[in-house]
């Protein structure tokens, strides 16, 4: 399996602060990959480097084995096939749900000025197809009846799903989800987990996830990278990560590492990081 995304030694500095430090990552195609770490570890900054919002000082980012991403503009990166959602939802508040999704399709619509003004058959067909696709996406995320509702009037969970629908409209190969579960209750999280899995299985999209809920992360991820202070401190499958002393230290401090080592001892086991996942291995 080729790597859909490969980041090599990516470093981003803001003045004296190194937010992302020599971050390297290789994500195979068709997986759900999570980037976790304590607050301020540099995860969102890393995402921003991937999408071209920030220009990293060092490092290369390669997409799909052939496109260099670093130095490109955001819209170019999107057109290559990477989409994202945001930690604090950033929908277009005064556009309706359908309009938000239609904007996402922008790069796949090619009607010229002439076509638009004179409503040529090609332009009309494209518009109708776009509308159709937007409705399908709306259905896919479970917002069927809400097409005409203003984005800012939607419920929080619906907004999150709309944001994903909008990202899907760009027909991405890689989808970056920045804390998609924030503010959800367990039931909603379960729905979202199933949904993200569907994205991977039904649409063949590779997912890169930032998430704080350890249960979710351990449940859903095929692979995990852990960041702290901008650097990658651990990488691997969920089970390994749970037991990694560096990870435990990052989240809970040195004392916890010792406590766990003393109390635990066994190979199977309870993790000591974040929330206690009850079923660690389902990958």
């Amino acid at each position: 399996m080729s790597a859909v995304l490969e980041a090599r030694h990516v470093t981003k500095r803001f003045g004296g602060l190194t937010a992302v430090d020599d971050m390297s990552l290789a994500i195979p195609e068709g997986v759900i990959y999570s980037v976790i770490g304590p607050n301020g570890a540099g995860k969102t900054t890393f995402f921003n480097c991937l999408t071209g919002f920030y220009l990293p000082e060092e490092g290369q980012i390669e997409f799909d084995g052939r496109h260099r991403l670093d130095g490109r503009r955001t819209d170019q990166i999107t057109r290559l096939g990477i989409a994202r959602t945001y930690q604090n939802i950033r929908l277009f508040p005064n556009l309706t749900a359908i309009e938000n999704i239609l904007v996402g399709q922008h790069s796949h619509l090619h009607a010229s000025l002439w076509g638009v003004i004179f409503r040529t058959r090609a332009a009309r067909r494209e518009e109708a197809a776009a509308l159709d696709e937007a409705c399908r996406l709306l259905d896919f995320v479970g917002l069927s009846g809400d097409g005409d509702v203003l984005a800012k009037h939607l419920a929080y969970g619906d907004q999150r799903r709309l944001e994903i629908a909008r990202a899907l409209a760009t027909k991405p190969k890689l989808l970056l989800l920045d804390e998609p579960m924030a503010g959800m209750n367990p039931a909603e999280k379960d729905t979202m987990i199933a949904f993200i899995r569907r994205l991977r299985d039904a649409l063949g999209i590779t997912i890169l996830l930032i998430e704080h809920d350890m249960k979710v992360v351990m449940t859903i991820s095929d692979g995990i990278s852990v960041m702290d202070f901008g650097r990658k401190i651990a990488e691997g499958r969920p089970a390994a990560i749970q037991r990694d002393p560096l990870v435990i230290e990052a989240y809970l401090g040195r004392g916890a590492v010792e406590a766990v080592a003393a109390a635990d001892g066994g190979a199977d086991g309870q993790a000591a990081s974040g929330d206690r996942p009850t079923s660690p291995d389902e990958a």
Partner: protein, 613 residues
């Protein structure tokens, strides 16, 4: 007692405001106009005596609004008392001013109040002195109105507005009636001199109020009936409506006469520019304060190309004859292309600028163009302060309007009514050209709005960074908005030049940019009918009220501030602006002409689901 203090305070403020309006000169300027007059006999002859003058009306409105704002929804006797007191306080203030004013001026060394406040004239004191019982009356009216049902209230308001408008514009009404051959005798019961008669006012008031009330009552019924009909019928009704409007517009110059056609032409020029700026500001959210630059470029290009006096006309290819001026229709596309190029070039430096900076830089561009047009340096090309002259009028050779065509020996396929279009340059001819231009512009704007370009602009306006993350090329999208906006403005300028025959740099100043901005804001940003309403209100009305031209910009200032404070979405807002500025309202009526791109989303989704099923 404490309850009455706000009334007292408000009364003092009202009095102060009225004195202020007087000192600014507005009351004096208005005193030449009356709204309603009556016939009285004086010395055996019937004489028209003013019953309600414009200054009085103004004072009544000020007092009314001020008291209304203070009254609770269900005023009690105490409130009524307070309101009257408020009116009395206001009257007291004006009376005091009338008393003290002249006295203040009588100080030594020949110092007069008039040296400072130039409008503190005896006439002003006279006008102010007549307000004694108007203000308490207005206050009482405000109280009375609170007890009336809201729908009746709205109807009454509409009637009052109609009376005020027609009263102020009564001389225009007379001109129009004359032009259309309505004998004076038949309207004498309605209009007399420059104002309405009591009977006229009453009829107008009653009629408009009744219409408004009936309209409000039956609108929901009509809407429901309309919604119940199949979409195909609705579409035909809509087309019928548009056709009707089209016929009305085509017939309009015939009934409007030359003077009012000229007014409509002014409006048309600004509608054209407004539609363009609407794309830049309303759709894409970029505040362009230098929009007049493209207007100037269009006009000057047209002048340079078509005037026999321009440098281009005199220029010679080496060894050949002078190039000579070009015809209007050939020059027109060039003007538009020049404007588009300019729009693109001027858009480049501002691509990364934030809203306020963008405004100032574009303003700077507008000023740079004006300074260049005025400069000595470019005088050989652009005429400097003397401008470009002898720009020939627009010829529309295949269209003549007038049944006198044959008689005048004009042999053309189309003869509509009495005005010969290619005779002396008549405003009516220009009206059709402008109408065509506006229709094209509105058509393009409408189509763009519901397209991927329009959505890209709106996304840009909402959140630039995320828009880019959606794959929207910011540079291209912004430049396109600028270019298309510039094209409309250039077109307007190209028509403006032959209209004026001579163009001067001072016609292309910042105030025009501000004017256009104001009208799209007042009309409703992003909304195409809003542009038309805005132009009628902010360009048409001042043209009709030429005698008060001194106060035009002052009124603009007040209108802008008041609108931003109380109704920032404008009079006919587009659905998008309404959503942005009135977040708590539900499904807005907005403007009918631009439905959301998805139409009824649920219906479409349902249809889509059906199709897939």
């Amino acid at each position: 007692m404490a309850v009455l203090t706000p009334y007292g305070r408000r009364g003092l403020i009202v009095g102060g405001v009225i004195v202020f309006l007087g000192l600014v000169g507005l009351l004096e300027a208005f005193s030449t106009r009356s709204i309603i007059n009556v016939l009285r006999t004086a010395g055996g002859k019937p004489v028209a005596v003013t019953l309600l003058s414009l200054p009085e009306l103004l004072a009544l409105i000020v007092a009314f609004v001020a008291v209304r704002g203070l009254l609770p929804a269900r005023p009690r006797a105490l409130d009524a008392f307070g309101a009257v007191g408020c009116g009395a306080a206001a009257s007291a203030v004006t009376a005091a001013f009338v008393r003290l004013g002249p006295a203040l001026g009588a100080g030594g060394d020949g110092f007069q109040l008039r040296d400072v406040f130039i409008h503190a004239t005896p006439e002003l004191f006279e006008v102010l002195g007549s307000f004694a019982w108007h203000l308490p009356l207005a206050a009482l009216a405000a109280v009375a109105v609170a007890f009336v049902r809201p729908d009746v209230r709205r109807a009454v308001a509409a009637g009052a507005v109609a009376v005020a408008l027609v009263g102020v514009l009564s001389d225009h009404v007379t001109i129009l009636l004359d032009h259309n051959g309505v004998p004076r005798a038949s309207t004498a019961w309605f209009l007399r001199g420059k104002s309405l008669t009591v009977a006229g006012a009453a009829t107008l008031f009653g009629g408009v109020a009744a219409l408004r009330w009936l309209g409000e009552r039956f609108r929901p019924v009509a809407d429901r009936r309309l919604a119940a009909r199949p979409a195909r019928d609705r579409r035909w009704l809509r087309r019928g409506g548009i056709a009707l409007a089209g016929v009305a517009l085509i017939a309009l110059p015939r009934f409007a006469g030359s003077y009012h056609s000229e007014v409509l032409n002014q409006v048309g020029l600004f509608v054209l520019m407004g539609l363009g700026l609407n794309i830049v500001v309303g759709f894409a959210g970029m505040l362009d304060l230098g929009y007049v630059a493209f207007f100037a470029l269009g006009a000057y290009t047209m002048g340079v190309l078509t005037s026999p006096e321009s440098f281009l006309a005199a220029a010679t290819v080496p060894g050949g004859p002078p190039v000579g001026p070009v015809g209007f229709w050939l020059a027109l596309p060039v003007c538009i292309v020049v404007a588009v190029i300019a729009g693109t070039l001027l858009g480049v430096p501002v691509l990364s600028l934030r809203g306020d900076y963008l405004a100032i830089v574009t303003l700077g561009f507008g000023e740079i163009i004006r300074v260049l047009a005025l400069s000595e340096w470019l005088r050989p090309f652009l005429g400097g302060s003397l401008g470009l002259k002898r720009i020939p009028p627009i010829k529309v050779p295949w269209l003549a309007i007038g049944d006198g065509c044959a008689a005048r020996g004009i042999d053309v396929p189309l003869c509509i009514y009495r005005v010969a279009i290619d005779g002396p340059d008549k405003p009516q001819k220009l009206f059709y050209i402008l109408l065509a231009g506006c229709v094209v512009a509105a058509f393009v704007a409408l189509r763009l709005k519901d397209s991927r370009h329009g959505r890209a602009w709106m996304a840009l306006r909402e959140d630039e960074d995320v828009a880019q993350a959606m794959g929207i090329d910011l540079v291209r999208t912004k430049l396109m908005a600028f270019a298309i906006g510039a094209a409309f403005s250039g077109l307007s300028g190209a028509i403006f030049a032959p209209k004026l025959v001579s163009i001067f740099p001072h016609s292309f100043n910042l105030l025009i940019s501000i004017n256009i901005l104001a009208l799209i804001i007042v009309g409703g940003m992003g909304s195409i009918p809003g542009v038309i309403v805005g132009a009628l209100a902010l360009v048409g009305l001042p043209e009709l009220l030429r005698e008060f031209a001194e106060y035009r910009l002052w009124a603009y200032g007040i209108v802008l501030v008041v609108m931003m404070l109380y109704r920032p979405e404008g009079m006919i807002p587009s659905t998008a602006t309404l959503r942005e500025l009135r977040p708590d309202d539900d499904a807005p009526p907005g403007d009918v002409a631009s439905p959301s791109p998805a139409g009824p989303g649920t219906a479409v989704a349902a249809a889509g689901a059906e199709a897939r099923a």
